[in-house]
Symmetry: C2
Subunit: 349 residues, 2 copies
């Protein structure tokens, strides 16, 4: 396994000293890049993901352009569910759509165990191609059980997660069976990515912030905990992320990741007050700020860095994915500014 | 002006002793009620709002069915902007749509001052009809400047508010001019509703939770403050509400409303820890819980009431609007349970 001894990203994940604040951007590979639009071709994102050479190229594009401190695998959180035949498509501009949403016990049969070498060989091949090519760590990822469950149950993007919550609250045995299968799906997928060479992973519980703290604690946290526990022996940094999670941040941290991702609603200083002074954080520039004039972006980046107050455990990122219309020149300036920021406080002589 | 001396709702707004916990539901009038679907007819919601007899009937329906402790005017937060000719439509299932979104200084001309008697006579007529009929207080409402701005700028419902934030951060003078006009629009509309007989008002800053605390404090709070300050002389209770506002709750409270609305993400006990032990709160059952089995709903209602811990300053509500598919029988049971809950702790003898 490649170890990347000089990686600022891996050092920050461990809270160890390093030369500069590492940066990567969620959804750094994708529609915001002209070189992506050039190679992507028509067809579904799932078809693009099924092509290892193309996926590897797309993964590499932002690393080349921006000099990010990590690459993030070009894939989608519904890939494992689709690979075992659940029937998921990703509609452009809309997101994951499920023809027959998960609704009853009989649907459990549609969630057989994932066999990564047989079901997602293209994903593992992409990881292997990337590890040969990359000089920075590759981040693999999976959807957390709750967020994947919400896609499978709602059938289409939702703002309210009504069906998901109704099943969670009204059918606890079915919820447990579903979530347990989604734990296994995430674990098996993540382990296969790590074994193929991913140096870190991120668990996306993107929509967990829709839950009350009590519902999160009772019906979601135990499953996310199982995911991180099942990766412990592999000894790679793990990142746990969702949007609008301020009220459940301390609970999410109990799931046991190495790093907590934070969106722009919780200033990093406040996040460390909640999670402890030694917590390792990732974030948290509002992606919408990238549409403001350069001086405003610069000031906002400065504020994120100052909130971190020279803590060695900070990975700079946006508070959510790069928006498709983002001008890459803005992200180029952001990364340059972050890299130039003096990570360590001036020595007292 | 009618004073409703026995109103539990008004007493709770003032934190004064009263017999039972008052309840009303955001969007209690509307698609969830069969009697609404029967009278509503085709056409836009804005057409229905323009018909005082129909709007009054729709407003009364949930009061009759549920015995809510307050009525909420059947209207829409874009009504004042539409009334002055900005060009807003409300598309069924989608929400407010603006053909020519607000984008530059010339668009300010499209936001002339509201003359309520000339521009929204139907709204005032609806209020007057209702006040004659109702035995419980009528709540008037308006959209807060930020939330209305987001509709005018985005042109259609958004999850990211990119254009709104870009204008807010990038064009501070234009933002100030826009927000100042929207302050006036809200104030004039609310004052006219109160003068026509509304006994309380709610300011909906539904989407303010999309902002970082700093952006809220700098670019939004000053304007919301002006709205509440401009209503002070009328001496009616004011409610301030948004969703996903946990991180900015203390800031929103600084705007100066009588009551803070809280969504289900912040337990009421936690809200009082943040806002002070004497704060008056409205909320906060997750509307999605209404789709769970009766025992689960009952338990969730109990938890909300217990979080309030017998505080006299609590108005029971959902944490957001009633969802269109909600079974009215569920809300009937909720209101019955809330009304039966012993508001005052057992006397210590």
């Amino acid at each position: 396994m490649t170890s990347y001894p000089d990686s600022a990203f891996l050092a920050a994940c461990r809270g160890e000293p390093h030369a500069h604040t590492p940066v990567w951007f969620m959804r750094q590979a994708g529609r915001s890049l002209p070189e992506y639009r050039k190679v992507r071709g028509p067809g579904s994102i799932l078809e693009a993901i099924a092509n290892p050479e193309l996926s590897a190229e797309i993964t590499l594009q932002p690393v080349r352009r921006y000099g990010t401190d990590a690459a993030i695998l070009y894939s989608d959180i519904v890939v494992p569910a689709q690979a075992i035949g659940f029937g998921v498509e990703v509609q452009p501009g809309l997101g994951p759509v499920v023809a027959q949403p998960f609704a009853s016990e009989s649907d459990l049969q549609r969630l057989r165990p994932l066999d990564p070498e047989a079901d997602t060989p293209h994903v593992l091949e992409t990881v292997r191609l990337l590890v040969e090519e990359l000089t920075v760590p590759l981040i693999g990822f999976a959807g957390a059980p709750f967020t994947v469950a919400s896609y499978l149950i709602e059938g289409a993007p939702s703002r309210t997660y009504t069906r998901t919550k109704a099943l969670m609250l009204g059918q606890p045995a079915l919820w447990d069976a579903l979530m347990s299968r989604l734990v296994d799906l995430a674990v098996v997928s993540l382990r296969s990515q790590i074994n193929a060479g991913a140096a870190a992973i991120q668990l996306f519980d993107s929509w967990a912030g829709a839950l009350s703290p009590k519902d999160y604690q009772t019906h979601v946290l135990p499953y996310s905990k199982r995911v991180f526990a099942a990766l412990e022996d592999l000894d790679v940094p793990t990142i746990h992320f969702g949007v609008g999670t301020g009220e459940i941040l301390s609970l999410m941290a109990q799931a046991g990741s190495t790093v907590m991702g934070v969106d722009w609603r919780v200033p990093l200083g406040e996040a460390r007050r909640r999670l402890g002074p030694e917590s390792i954080l990732q974030g948290n520039l509002d992606p919408a700020v990238c549409f403001a004039p350069p001086a405003v972006v610069e000031q906002a980046v400065t504020e994120v860095l100052e909130q971190n107050d020279h803590h060695p455990g900070h990975i700079f990122n946006l508070g959510h994915g790069v928006m498709p219309d983002t001008d890459p020149a803005v992200l180029e300036r952001v990364i340059d500014q972050v890299h130039r920021f003096p990570l360590n406080p001036p020595a007292v002589s």
